[in-house]
Symmetry: C2
Subunit: 231 residues, 2 copies
């Protein structure tokens, strides 16, 4: 789409098309360069419009990425439904595997999760944050309901703790698993330092298994109470 | 210390004093304003020197914060030693409580953990990253050894998984627990959205309990294998 045709669009469906084109451009660039390296000017250039035209559709760079995060969360929930709605109940290993993959297959979602509280929830209107939070809270609840339906031994509240912890870890571990080139070179040259790196999917799967085993086991913690417990 | 006295210092111990003064200034500002809001110029102004003088001691703003992160990790390890070296073995609840507090009492450490892979490991020399990684890996190993000595039922590798997961979560949950003022106002005005916020110490303690219960329990996961497991 050229700047010319883009600027002529006036009808509501054309406006939606433009918004989608902007979000697609931001997503492509975030996938290629990482969220932190994508500026408003980069997005405008890729869509083929001027920055000022782009700001008719979104408040700021941060709002574009918050919208992208909301989209990515909805896509993530669809994947969980598709994979787990018809699953036979009881398999924690299936849930662990699908959660690990649902994040590791979505690099832009993982990257956005870390950037959301650090960068994206700033420089946007309260309305934009509210809209994003409603989406992300809704998706976490939806994910929790799916987990609870496959693993009915977990309460809904426990399922929610699982989803929230996995989302946090997916965000922070993805950043560690995807170091900048200079750091990747350092890891390659020094096996001892390479321990600090993370292989995302197996680490998420392993942590999911620990959490799913720990949630019921921590209801009555098998703890040897000692005098130190009163510290 | 005035800019005048600072600039006259020439002896090795005076240089160390200056480095400490710079790190103290960066720490104070990070605590007050958050890591992301502290610039090199802010640090120089607080120490009372020109930016160019500051760059005789540190490569970049990011290197100052990496050094601060290394210091904060060492301080964290000292606290664990002080609290757990003489603890009677067996109390997972003591370990959970102390880990939660060791992070929630150290806001600058938590803030730095999230910024390290996103921002700080960029714009520094490979040597500076190597130095930081050696410190952080060493501290994680030290923390794992302490956990293993209090909870000998966990292997050293499992203790390490516990420490690494807690550190990642401390970094990401701290950011959520400390929203920008506009977001905090939104939470205050809307109880439904406030669910998205996190109370750091109790959440970390709860997650520590889940992980400590889950690590031994996930060795032979009590999983109902179904046909879906082959997905």
């Amino acid at each position: 789409m050229t700047a010319e045709t883009f600027q002529r669009a006036r009808r509501p469906e054309q406006k939606l098309q433009r918004q989608d084109a902007i979000l697609d451009a931001a997503r492509d660039l975030a996938l290629r360069d990482g969220v932190r390296n994508v500026s408003l000017a980069d997005i405008a250039a890729r869509v083929g419009i001027h920055k000022s035209a782009l700001l008719r559709y979104f408040e700021t760079r941060e709002q574009i990425f918050l919208e992208l995060a909301a989209d990515a969360w909805r896509d993530w929930a669809r994947e969980l439904h598709a994979r787990l709605d018809t699953a036979e109940p009881g398999s924690a290993s299936l849930v662990a595997e699908l959660f690990a993959r649902s994040f590791s297959d979505r690099p832009v979602l993982c990257d956005l999760i870390a950037h959301t509280p650090l960068n994206l929830e700033r420089n946007v209107s309260p309305e934009a944050v509210r809209h994003y939070k409603q989406t992300s809270l809704g998706v976490v609840s939806e994910g929790a309901a799916i987990v609870h339906s496959v693993l009915p031994d977990l309460t809904l509240a426990e399922s929610r703790e699982f989803v929230a912890s996995m989302a946090s870890l997916a965000g922070s571990l993805w950043q560690i698993a995807n170091p900048v080139p200079a750091l990747a070179a350092l890891y390659a040259s020094d096996p001892e330092l390479a321990q600090a790196c993370v292989d995302l999917a197996p680490r998420l799967r392993r942590t999911a298994e620990i959490l799913l085993a720990g949630l019921p086991a921590s209801r009555n913690p098998p703890v040897l109470r000692t005098a130190a417990d009163s510290v």
